[in-house]
């Protein structure tokens, strides 16, 4: 499937949760499949921390660049683009095309950098609603996401209850734990203490805080895998014949983390990373209801599919069951899958017959 990324500019200002206002913004997006005449088959796919609007397919000029959820989305895939009109979007504050810290600030004519406001999940959903309006979609057949993407799927059901028929919430949490926030803070400190960070104004200095970003990614990666998956994949295997008794790479896992850090820091923006981790930290729909998640979901109208993975310790199944309980309290139409998969948080990206089979069946039952 060859796809073409698109962009749309919104000239109307967007008021953000922080009180700041984005005077104008762009959203990068891709679409797969055809919107039907009744406009009833649209599915919005929301991405997690490091992904983008490139959900599925490849580009004509870059055939190796496969979308991040291509195993899930496409013709004949669980989310079948022969039947559904699927929209991938890049959230604002990102560095892949939508307006973010690397974009030009119209007020200064220079990149926003550190001046780009902190955005929240609620802000993303508000911006996505503009995209939906632009595409002429009044009501989504489904909004779907994993991890941070799942928070957007949840928030859609709260911000725009009447515009979502199904909310598909995978590897989610209704709020970060203190431990989750702690990992994010270590990642932010790694970036902000990098001498090349320059308070976020590194673009104009011609440098990038790659060391900090690299460490941030290494920390993140540890939380995406289960202990068992990491042991299974890397064990205590050495990269050299005998231990070096120095601080070069001894173990396979060290090599893997360095590689992941190098790769990530070569394409990701540090200011974006700071903002995304803050969006994660702040997300807590129950906060406005004295911590009562059931009260928060009282306004939801969607049907829900919630999926968790038993080896996910970042956003554990217990956190998904908190969502399930809140939805049960509100008598929502709801199914919950707890997949006994070994890979940890990353399991949401991997093909598993039980997980993909359930998604295929669920989408198959959505009437158009």
């Amino acid at each position: 499937m060859i796809v073409t990324p698109q962009k749309v500019r919104f000239a109307e200002p967007l008021s953000l949760s922080s009180g700041a206002v984005l005077p104008e913004f762009e959203i990068a997006y891709e679409t797969y499949g055809e919107l039907n005449a009744a406009r009833s088959n649209a599915v919005l796919v929301c991405h997690a921390l490091n992904a983008s609007h490139h959900v599925a397919g490849t580009y004509a000029n870059d055939p190796g660049n496969l979308g991040w959820w291509d195993n899930m989305v496409g013709p004949g895939k669980p989310l079948d683009t022969n039947r559904f009109f699927v929209i991938g979007n890049n959230y604002i504050g990102s560095c892949f095309g939508s307006t973010g810290p690397t974009s030009i600030n119209p007020a200064s004519g220079k990149p926003w950098g550190a001046d780009f406001p902190v955005v929240t999940v609620e802000d993303w959903v508000a911006a996505q609603a503009r995209l939906a309006d632009h595409l002429g979609i009044e009501r989504f057949a489904a909004v779907m996401g994993g991890s941070l993407g799942a928070m957007q799927a949840l928030q859609w059901s709260l911000s725009f209850p009447a515009r979502v028929r199904n909310s598909i919430v995978i590897a989610a949490t209704p709020r970060l734990s203190a431990q989750n926030i702690a990992f994010n803070e270590v990642a932010r400190q790694a970036i902000m203490t990098d001498p090349d960070f320059h308070g976020g104004h590194y673009y104009e200095k011609g440098v990038l805080p790659v060391r900090g970003l690299r460490i941030a990614r290494m920390i993140g990666h540890i939380t995406y895998l289960s202990d068992d998956a990491m042991m299974e994949k890397f064990g205590r295997v050495l990269r050299r014949v005998t231990p070096g008794f120095d601080f070069n790479v001894d173990f396979e896992i060290e090599s893997y983390l360095r590689h992941q850090g190098d790769k990530f820091s070569s394409y990701f923006d540090a200011n974006t990373y700071l903002r995304i981790t803050k969006a994660l930290d702040y997300y807590d729909p129950a906060a406005a209801y004295g911590g009562d998640l059931s009260a928060a979901f009282a306004r939801a109208q969607a049907d829900f599919l919630v999926v968790s993975f038993t080896s996910d310790w970042r956003f554990s199944s217990a956190r998904s069951r908190e969502i399930v309980r809140a939805l049960l309290d509100n008598r929502r139409v709801l199914s919950y899958l707890e997949i006994d998969a070994p890979q940890g948080h990353d399991a949401f990206l991997l093909d598993d017959a039980r997980y993909f089979g359930a998604l295929r069946a669920y989408f198959g039952n959505i009437a158009l």
Binding site: R321, V324, R325, L328, D329, R331, V333, L334, S335, Y336, L337, E338, I339, D340, R354, G357, A358, A361, Y362, G364, N365
Partner: protein, 191 residues
């Protein structure tokens, strides 16, 4: 009369039901179609959970042995445990939980006091194998068999009231000596 018809008769129109060990969701689907009773199923088996999703039945993949803490007190008119009681390790807390989250419970189980079962043990000298109990002793999911007498004693111990009882054999109600002549027991109980 089948077990399903008996249960459907006991579920009032529009009642909220919870089906524990719901299998492929066929009973819930039947209750929705015949009684407009919405509800949820709880099932742990991956293949059966998938069947529920295919059947467009609300299913929650959870282990009954972990309790029913996701459900609020009194959130269902009726909590069903259909031919699952014998596969549960700890019946007492589950029965209490069922009547915490539901106003009434419907419990069905294969009657171990059925005469064919008794004969297989007494004369055959082996564990019973039948239509209701199709397993060999070494590969059965069932861990706690009971008879009508046993179940009613447990209800008495837990202070549960038996509101109705239907005992079946080959789809026919058994009125005389049910603990000997019935192969499947279905109870409607309340706290």
């Amino acid at each position: 009369m089948t077990e399903r018809e008996t249960i459907a008769r006991w579920v009032s129109l529009g009642a909220r039901v919870l089906d524990l060990g719901c299998g492929d969701g066929a009973l819930l689907k039947h209750l929705w179609q015949t009684r407009q009773a919405p509800g949820y199923g709880v099932e742990i088996d991956d293949a059966k959970v998938l069947e529920c999703i295919r059947n467009d039945v609300n299913v929650l993949q959870m282990d009954l042995e972990d309790g029913l803490s996701v459900f609020q007190d009194g959130s269902f008119e009726c909590v069903i445990l259909s031919e699952t009681l014998q596969a549960i390790h700890r019946q007492e807390p589950l029965l209490r939980e069922m009547l915490r989250v539901g106003r009434e419970a419907i419990v069905s189980f294969p009657n171990f006091g059925y005469w064919r079962a008794r004969i297989q043990i007494a004369l055959g000298g082996h564990m019973p194998v039948s239509k209701e109990l199709p397993y060999q002793w070494y590969d059965t999911p069932n861990v706690h068999h009971c008879t009508l007498v046993d179940f009613e004693a447990l209800c008495a111990k837990l202070g549960l009231r038996v509101l109705e009882r239907v005992v079946l054999r080959d789809g026919n109600p058994v009125a005389v000596m049910p603990n000997l002549l019935g192969s499947l027991a279905i109870y409607r109980v309340s706290a």
